[in-house]
């Protein structure tokens, strides 16, 4: 069973009031994929039900870090802030949720309730217009409104991500990359920004690095849903989407999750009845989660994804994308899962359909808990370190410059990174200068003077 299907079962159980079952499935999922946003969202909703506000907010923070545009998570945050009596933050989160244009009526209603407004009384903000235009396939208009929205709310990472995506769709990759870095600094595990950065790297001829970044996304999004959605809009790209991993839920959980499901087929049993039963199970999910964008997207082949203005393009995309789509649609069938022997190990698509790189990535994504717990981190700081490790001096200098220009409030973190950088001969001059700039920004002129002098000495030494 694919992780999204397991998450859908958990959602269904939650909707049916079977909290224990929802919790069991969620824990099973998180044991395999510790950062998987749909599972953490279910766990947050369970914690919300149990009045464990802190735990719920922790999970929601993780969800919004991976998926800053997840309107349901924002609405849940709003409810929890409201419960705590933090009205300002509740209203801010509710507004964010509304401006992300939720697909689910109940999410919208929940957010509107906190804002205490009727739907027709909502003001049309630049953030909303940017989302609408992006969803409609008008990135140039989306960019214009997103820029206004960013200037109005520079702290809103979801707005920044909309701007980044608009730029990406317009092919303005350098500007997109800069915005993605800002997003990654606020939402370190933002999958969408990481996908765009992976693509940008590959477009610059650094395909291996882009692929590596893409593979790391599998630790958060094992099905590479967002990668498929974004890359599926391109006619051609150099990245290889890793194969889809699967998870085996214990039979009793699958059985409990749907009253019509018979015991899992035993080896040698006729598979036909199992197919019919699991098909019923899918219908049940569709009824419960019919409005869920996630479920909608994962229940269909990639080329049929709703909200993608490039559906036609996707269908006509290069072989890589087309194959992936076909694999995805086939694997959605629960009957295939039921036919397979029960195993606790995550499984890949058939070897013949998965390129070599994908196998590694899938194996990595399907790593046991201890490895999955490591999580992926796409922050600019880690990226800078990665570039330094790879001896990509020019790019590293550019990223370090961006970090200093962004004036991160975590002063010691920037200090530490730049001091690491000066240890490398190739970066020494520029890193000392950047350190001087950083010291000036943070009101330490004496240290700045010392750093600038060292930079001048390095420059002098180089000249000599």
């Amino acid at each position: 069973m694919r992780p999204s299907e397991a998450a859908a079962l958990a959602r269904q159980a939650l909707a049916d009031g079977e909290s224990a079952l929802a919790g069991s499935i969620t824990e099973r999922l998180l044991a395999e994929f510790a950062s998987y946003p749909p599972a953490r969202l279910v766990r947050a909703l369970l914690a919300e039900q149990a009045n464990d506000t802190d735990a719920a907010l922790d999970d929601l923070r993780a969800v919004t870090s991976s998926e800053p545009t997840n309107s349901e998570a924002r609405a849940a945050q709003a409810r929890l802030f409201q419960r705590r009596g933090d009205t300002d933050r509740a209203r801010m989160a509710a507004r964010q949720s509304v401006e992300l244009i939720p697909n689910e009526p109940e999410v919208l209603e929940s957010a509107l309730e906190i804002l205490n407004v009727e739907p027709d009384a909502l003001e049309t903000s630049a953030a909303v217009l940017a989302r609408v235009h992006l969803n409609c396939g008008w990135p140039d208009l989306a960019e214009r409104h997103a820029r206004v929205a960013v200037s109005e709310s520079p702290e809103r990472v979801d707005v920044r991500l909309t701007l980044a995506e608009a730029l990406w769709r317009l092919g303005r990759l350098s500007a997109c990359e800069a915005e993605c870095r800002v997003v990654a600094d606020q939402a370190e595990e933002c999958v969408r920004a990481a996908v765009m950065r992976a693509h940008i790297l590959s477009e610059r001829g650094r395909t291996a690095e882009g692929q590596e970044l893409l593979d790391r996304i599998g630790r958060i999004d094992p099905e590479f849903r967002e990668a498929r959605e974004l890359l599926g809009t391109l006619e051609v790209h150099r990245l290889v989407l890793p194969g889809v991993v699967e998870i085996d839920l214990p039979p009793e959980l699958v059985r409990q999750s749907n009253g019509t499901v018979e015991p899992v087929a035993e080896p040698g049993a006729d598979s036909a009845p199992v197919e019919a039963q699991t098909a019923d199970g899918r219908e049940g999910q569709a009824e419960t989660l019919g409005d869920s964008a996630v479920q909608d997207q994962l229940s269909q082949p990639v080329e049929d994804l709703p909200g993608s203005e490039d559906q036609v393009d996707t269908a006509g995309s290069v072989a890589v994308t087309g194959e992936e789509s076909a694999v995805s649609s086939e694997q959605l069938r629960l009957d295939e899962v039921a036919e397979e022997p029960v195993s606790l190990d995550a499984e890949e698509t058939p070897a013949g359909e998965v390129p070599p790189v994908s196998s590694d990535a899938a194996a990595e994504a399907a790593a046991p808990t201890d490895e999955a717990d490591v999580g992926a981190d796409f922050s600019t700081f880690d990226w800078a370190r990665h570039l330094i490790e790879q001896s990509e001096w020019t790019e590293a200098e550019r990223v370090l410059t961006d970090i200093v220009t962004a004036n991160d409030p975590d002063v010691s973190r920037v200090d530490g990174l730049l001091l690491e950088a000066v240890a490398h001969r190739e970066l020494r001059g520029s890193a000392w200068k950047l350190l001087g700039d950083h010291y000036m920004q943070t009101g330490r002129p004496q240290a700045a003077a010392d750093a600038y002098l060292r930079a001048a000495n390095v420059a002098g030494g180089s000249t000599e």
Partner: protein
């Protein structure tokens, strides 16, 4: 809001000024000291003046409003006005009084109210 780059361009137009650096408190000094010190020059001179300011404040002598020094071929004037600070350099023929007035007006005109 005036950017440091705009202000720098205005300062460079003052008569006799051959180089200038300008910055807001908490920002990176920008400018060009007429080729002196390359890209590090503006930062190095600004940081050195900032160090002196800090030392003077630490001794309880108050906040420096202006520093002027002269070398064998260069004059340098550093001014603070509100949140802006600027350092200008010029030759020995630089009319410091005139530049001080122009610089003060420029910085004051671009200072944000309440800063």
């Amino acid at each position: 809001m005036t950017s440091a780059a705009d202000l720098h361009a205005g300062i460079q137009r003052l008569p006799g000024v051959t180089g200038a650096a300008v910055w807001k408190i908490g920002e990176i000094p920008t400018g060009d000291l007429g080729g002196h010190g390359g890209s590090i020059g503006p930062g190095l001179l600004s940081a050195s003046i900032g160090t002196m300011e800090q030392a003077v404040e630490t001794m309880g002598l108050g906040q420096i409003a202006e520093i002027w020094f002269v070398t064998q071929d260069t004059q340098c004037l550093a001014l603070r006005s509100g949140q802006w600070q600027a350092v200008v350099i010029g030759g020995l023929d630089l009319d410091v009084d005139n530049v001080r007035d122009g610089l003060t007006s420029l910085l004051a005109a671009n200072d944000e109210p309440g800063a």
